[in-house]
Subunit: 452 residues, 2 copies
Amino acid sequence: MRADVQPGDVLSALPEHPPAMPGGEDEWGRIFDDVRSIIFPGLTHWQSPGFFGYFPANGSWPAVLGDLLSTGLGVQGMLWQTGPAMTELETRMLDWMARLSGLPERFLSSGPGGGVIQGTASEATLVAMVAARHRLRVGQPQIDPRTLVAYTSTQAHSSVLKATRIAGIEHLRLVPTDARHALDPDALGRLIERDVANGLVPFYCCATAGTTGSGAFDPIDQIANIRNSMAPHAWLHVDAAWAGSAAVCPEHRGFLEGVEQADSYCTNPHKWLLTNFDCDLFYVADRAMLIDALSVTPEYLRNAASDSGAVIDYRDWQAPLGRRFRALKLWFVVRHYGRAGLQAHIRQHIAWARWFEDRVLSDPRFELAAPRSLSLVCLRLAGDRDADTRALLEAANASGQVLLTHTSLPDAQGRDRYTIRVAIGGTGNTFQSVQQLWGVLASLADADTGVR
Amino acid sequence: MRADVQPGDVLSALPEHPPAMPGGEDEWGRIFDDVRSIIFPGLTHWQSPGFFGYFPANGSWPAVLGDLLSTGLGVQGMLWQTGPAMTELETRMLDWMARLSGLPERFLSSGPGGGVIQGTASEATLVAMVAARHRLRVGQPQIDPRTLVAYTSTQAHSSVLKATRIAGIEHLRLVPTDARHALDPDALGRLIERDVANGLVPFYCCATAGTTGSGAFDPIDQIANIRNSMAPHAWLHVDAAWAGSAAVCPEHRGFLEGVEQADSYCTNPHKWLLTNFDCDLFYVADRAMLIDALSVTPEYLRNAASDSGAVIDYRDWQAPLGRRFRALKLWFVVRHYGRAGLQAHIRQHIAWARWFEDRVLSDPRFELAAPRSLSLVCLRLAGDRDADTRALLEAANASGQVLLTHTSLPDAQGRDRYTIRVAIGGTGNTFQSVQQLWGVLASLADADTGVR
């Protein structure tokens, strides 16, 4: 499952120079031979039943068909004019997904807000930050950009830090987390208070709904309240890249409490909703501010439809200019599975994760490193045994039957502890593969650690 | 060819609410019916033989196959570890393309430089700008970011301005152009001199090799010399998004003179080299500076291969974290067509553009608005007749036989003039469709303008 290659193996199997002549009629046989003999063994197989690493990269045949149609059509939808159906299908799909996920009205296209497909949540985090800065500077044009401060938790995704690097934001506060690894709102309040006292200007806060490390949910409502009272001009972005897919099930929407106060929200169907990478749904409450931050119109992009103001030009909602027809794959997925099918997809994974959690809880050799979150289970060997936990993960991956990745989570004493993440949710995962995973971990714990 | 729909037509043909239940076995018939009846008529058909708008979005069946395989594999290659063959095939393809295009050694992966696939040239422009700022601030940590100045020409792509908005750069100088619409190096020198005298700090210059408006080539060598003497710490990026594909032909590489002094370079095979969108090749001379600017490593992304320093993690070369397996389609294209096939693709389009240019030059009703550049011909009706030229373009598009777009180019008196762009280079274009285009324009000029 994990690629069985050393650095440079694949590179050295590929000719150093490109071919001078067309391949001819036998070339495709050789190409597919090379795919099988060079590429396949060199890949880590994300769609394998035994893949439980990172967060999953979902796929499904309806999505593959949609992507194939998109590639074949070869339409570049930077403007409404360059592909009206691409723009309008995307608008409709974003509205569909908002309704399926119980998102507040403010994110629907029928009001001042609306949604767009970004490539990744990293891009959503970035453009939200750029819009946040723009909004602040529209209100306070003379503000020194060096005084702007962004906030997120210590458990937030690395893309928030990366976005500050790209946007040129000098201050990012990583707010401490509570025992459940969720942002501590009191700590956020204290940091904002200190910054404001020092003449700095809070302008952006990214709350995470389902952290990468442990699936923790920052308390959006409490964060919003603090923002409202202490830094009312700051933009609140909610990153639900992974967990947002679970909101298609009404019983799993609790983490959205307060999202109606957020300025933007994103979630990735490519992680857990049967839609191939890349597909991030990014919603804003006030599209005018986003568009105003990113719109640049040279003569060669002007056209009557855009000038009329009656259409959406999605290039103004994202960092790149060009864009693929990604709404097709989402349309195919929703029509094929329907609300009920998407819910069943999510619910089965959560049920398997519950089963896995029960195994961990009932086996004294293991302990949970964090409360199970939806379909993510974080565990370690019981006691102070980081090196053994690491060896266990490495042995499990070396078995070739499963692929797991790790993180670091603080324990009750605040010490960072090596943690195995079991991220169920791949389209290829089955109950059998989850059982097999438990079997691998349990038997390795027997063999390698001597614990009975 | 151009979508025959009004704003809202497609949206209103799509249900407001997503389906509750799975589509069932008849759904796919309905889906494809809807694709044909709602989507197809609502698209502007970029792959049509008569499409000559913007710059082309190339496609080919080898690229479609490669993209399909990428989608089916569903591998997410953020790290070497998460798809070693994806990373190493990409490295090899970037080297192949550099060799095919006669790029300098400094951009090959065997030295301190190297290449990566970005989604679009806009992203390349942005990350180059972020790396440029980082390099400057490594050398001068105390510099006030508000003093940084970027430079590009008035004819440069809008993505340069957009990148400054995203990166938070306050000053962008749009350098005047010469009679051929290329950046005037003397004017650049004067602007830099004035800015430095005012305490500002030049940090980034984007030279365009093949502008969007008219295909003009900024003099990279002269720009580099000015940079070297007046602002040696500034980063020189070369945006050859469209024209770079022509460099597969040795006789069309003249525009690369001086590129060996550039810090970065990009070109889009998705524009003119038979590779479906998105595929931008971005090269840097010093990969360490780019990686240092963008690398953020949380625990959950750490792994032995990355820690060893022996591998490339392409997430550190781009704004997003996740990435698709885009090298596959490029590999398939190069193996199928070979150097000779790619050259033939470029040369036939340039030959057709020469034929079209001859028609314009031999017809007194028309005039060139700029010298033909490779396969791009810019024209207008002779004399001071902007409104007629605009009406001509609109009538041509209304014919349904062709699709053209426009720009604005200054004439010899410096007045902005409405200009029709004829961008040959679509995979679907044929000599017949180019002849048809001339027939449409010539007959409309007869009918609408009364000129004989």
